[in-house]
């Protein structure tokens, strides 16, 4: 599997340069378009402009307007026509410009995209990927920072995935485009410009697997997307306070990788779930419930959540109070009833 970066590297003798998540996503789209004639990429401003985040930069020029094209400004139409195209054998990869601008497409997603396979007893498959830049932390004004994952994870028939690193962005998007199921692909927009020195490969953990990003003995941080880096930073900071923290990057929010996550939590006995979305009825509630059901006798403390407040997403100058921070996660770790086991962690 050859990514854009590796192709660039072929022309130069030097080392592979760091890749951003946006660049890795762009490479995944380019490589999927090159590998499979059925793949088409469309949405608002994805053509000449290359997308407002430049994730589709250069694709229309390279693959032509029959493969990569702009649509009218109508999100329900983008998903609805993608469904019709997939019925006729294409593999549409569509972009919703921002999380909150995907809501007009919600009926098509929930009533048709998620259900068509089941409705037709497997006859009509819809191998569609809906890319949605999601979450906050970029100083966006209202309607540009929603964490909308729970709306989609509550809908059977959809796969919902989100990458936490550039390498995984490439891998997951390639896997999503190859997947026969519809995939809601949530791109943590505040990580678009995060860099990683890596070669891009589709090989590695499958589309339905969580991964342990950092091993630790004392507590498991369970997170995804935009807060994977925050959790890793927290783990580093926690080392100074005497906690050896494990970080699980869920990658696949639906279906949920029970095996990987429960193995970690049974081992550490403590867990904190971290996400940006509001706590109430949020995705973390499902994670806590599942782990409590499956790991109860291994738990040393109730599983805690560090999530956004139960408020509409704040304006840019206040968003730092809303987003899970290293300090807030450390505080949650400190509340995991360590006093019951004074030999572990700080007194």
């Amino acid at each position: 599997m050859t990514g854009v970066l590796e192709r660039r590297a072929e022309g130069s003798a030097g080392p592979t340069p760091p890749v951003t998540m946006a660049g890795a996503l762009n490479a995944a789209l380019a490589d999927s378009l090159a590998a499979d004639d059925r793949v088409v990429v469309f949405g608002e401003d994805v053509g000449v402009l290359g997308g407002v985040f430049r994730v589709t930069d250069g694709l229309a020029r390279r693959f032509g307007e029959n493969r990569v094209f702009d649509t009218p400004l109508a999100e329900s139409a983008i998903v609805g026509t993608a469904i019709g195209m997939a019925m006729n054998g294409l593999v549409p990869v569509v972009e919703m410009q921002f999380d909150a601008f995907a809501y007009p497409a919600f009926e098509q997603v929930v009533s048709h995209l998620a259900k068509m396979r089941n409705r037709t007893r497997g006859s009509v498959q819809l191998p569609i990927v809906i890319r949605i830049p999601y979450g906050g932390g970029i100083g966006g004004v209202e309607h540009h920072s929603d964490s909308s994952e729970a709306y989609y994870t509550a809908t059977p028939g959809l796969r919902v995935v989100t990458p936490g690193t550039p390498a995984d962005a490439y891998r997951l998007l390639r896997q999503a485009i190859s997947c026969p199921d519809p995939v809601v692909f949530l791109e943590p927009k505040r990580r678009y410009w995060a860099k990683e020195t890596t070669s891009l490969s589709v090989d590695g953990p499958g589309i339905d697997r969580a991964v342990i990003r950092r091993s630790g003995r004392d507590v498991t941080l369970i997170t995804y997307g935009g807060t994977v880096a925050t959790a890793l930073d927290t783990a580093e900071a926690a080392g100074g306070e005497g906690w050896d923290v494990e970080v699980v990057d869920l990658r696949s929010l639906a279906p949920f990788d029970d095996a990987t996550v429960t193995e970690s939590v049974r081992r550490t006995g403590r867990a904190v779930v971290v996400h940006e979305a509001p706590s109430f009825g949020g995705y973390g509630a499902e994670v806590v419930a599942r782990l409590t059901e499956q790991c109860f006798h291994h738990l040393e403390a109730p599983i805690l959540r560090v999530a956004g407040f139960d408020i509409p997403y704040p304006p840019p100058k206040l968003e730092q109070h809303h987003l899970p921070s290293v300090d807030r996660i450390l505080d949650a770790i400190a509340r995991l009833q360590w006093d019951d086991r004074p030999e572990v962690g700080r007194a």
Partner: protein, 368 residues
């Protein structure tokens, strides 16, 4: 007085009066554009409408016997249901709504498979690819976008395929209708939009649905040529849909057709139409019945003799009897189907839930 209309718009506007070829009394109108379909097609239209109406009546009867959970009848709309479908070619696609069972059957779908939804056995009982009929769509107007997408894909793949989407008057108020007309226009998609304006969206009459002079005028704003047709004249519906299919197939782009018709029955068997319309209105439309008028024309012109008429009616009765017999018993259902088709490969969570259900059923049998 003449009204100045820019030429570019004039080509898109519907005619002031609906296109009609055969008048309600069975006589030929003066209209020659489009021309009257061949007599073989007219006989086929008649046959399809008679059989379709008989099956439709059988379905309503099946609700009373508890064999169907609910049935939305299209009685009175047979000219649209049959006329439009007969205008399609084998390679074309039909995107029907829940009220379009007669159109689905006309396309060749087995009635028992088509009724799976309303029997409560499964959501879509037929394989959409077999007859190129999308699942009957319940969320209004959403199917219009599927039709546009399928047609766009056909163009991208170089296929000669036209998509016909059926909509009701109520569905034109939904945003997806506007988005579908717009995208189809922009991409010159080979799509035919057929709006069956049957007067009511459940209880709400058209006057409360739109202030437009006619629903057909909705096409002009999106750059679509638009046609207003007598929706109880099967010959006219067939002719205008056929012309639109031909135009779409030769790169001419989409067409919006509004067919004026009437829903003779209530919204479904569970509805009480007496609460919102009076009998005089129904009686008026019964005088414009699509089957009566085409039958009269065919008999007058010598194209339908009593023997042929009797043969068609016998075929309709046989079809109804076959449907009765095949729906008399509940179909065997497999609970594993609940989990089998949600994803291409059932994830562990679903397998565990399936095992739980199996255990419950085994306990129930052991306990019983």
């Amino acid at each position: 007085m003449t009204t100045a209309v820019p030429p570019a718009v004039a080509g898109l506007l519907p005619t002031a009066n609906p296109v009609g070829l055969i008048a309600p009394d069975g006589t030929r109108t003066g209209c020659d554009d489009p021309s009257l379909p061949d007599v073989d097609i007219l006989r086929e239209l008649y046959r399809g409408m008679v059989v379709g109406r008989r099956l439709d009546a059988q379905c309503t009867a099946l609700t009373k016997q508890g064999r169907l959970a609910v049935y939305p009848s299209s009685r009175g709309q047979e000219a649209c249901e049959v006329g439009a479908v007969l205008a399609l070619r084998d390679q074309d696609w039909l995107f029907p709504t829940y009220r379009d069972s007669v159109a689905v059957l006309q396309r060749g779908v087995d009635p028992v498979e088509a009724l799976s939804l309303l029997r409560g056995d499964w959501h879509c009982g037929y394989d959409p690819y077999r007859h190129r009929v999308a699942p009957q769509c319940t969320p209004l107007a959403t199917n219009a976008l599927h039709a546009v997408g399928l047609a766009c894909a056909a163009v991208l793949k170089g296929e000669d395929t036209v998509a016909l989407v059926l909509l009701g008057d109520g569905a034109t108020s939904e945003g997806d209708t506007s988005e579908a007309l717009n995208v189809a226009g922009v991409r010159r998609a080979p799509v035919v939009f057929l709006v069956q304006n049957n007067g009511y969206a459940i209880s709400v009459p058209l006057a409360k649905q739109t202030a437009a002079p006619a629903l057909a005028y909705r096409g002009v704003g999106y750059g679509l040529p638009s046609v207003l047709v007598d929706g109880n004249d099967a010959a006219a519906v067939h002719a205008v849909v056929r012309a639109a299919v031909d135009r779409a197939a030769t790169g001419g782009g989409p067409t919006l057709i509004e067919a004026l018709t009437y829903r003779v029955e209530p919204h479904t068997n569970a509805d009480d139409a007496g609460r919102y319309r009076d009998e005089a209105e129904v009686a008026y439309w019964l005088q414009r019945d699509p089957i009566v008028r085409l039958g009269a024309y065919l008999r007058t012109t010598g194209a339908l003799d009593p023997a042929a008429q009797a043969a068609i009616e016998a075929e309709a009765e046989a079809a109804a009897a076959d449907l009765r017999a095949r729906t008399a018993e509940d179909a065997p259902l497999d609970v594993d189907d609940l989990f089998a088709f949600v994803y291409a490969d059932a994830p562990p969570t679903l397998l565990a839930q399936r095992a739980l259900l199996h255990a419950e059923l085994a306990d129930g049998e052991a306990g019983g």
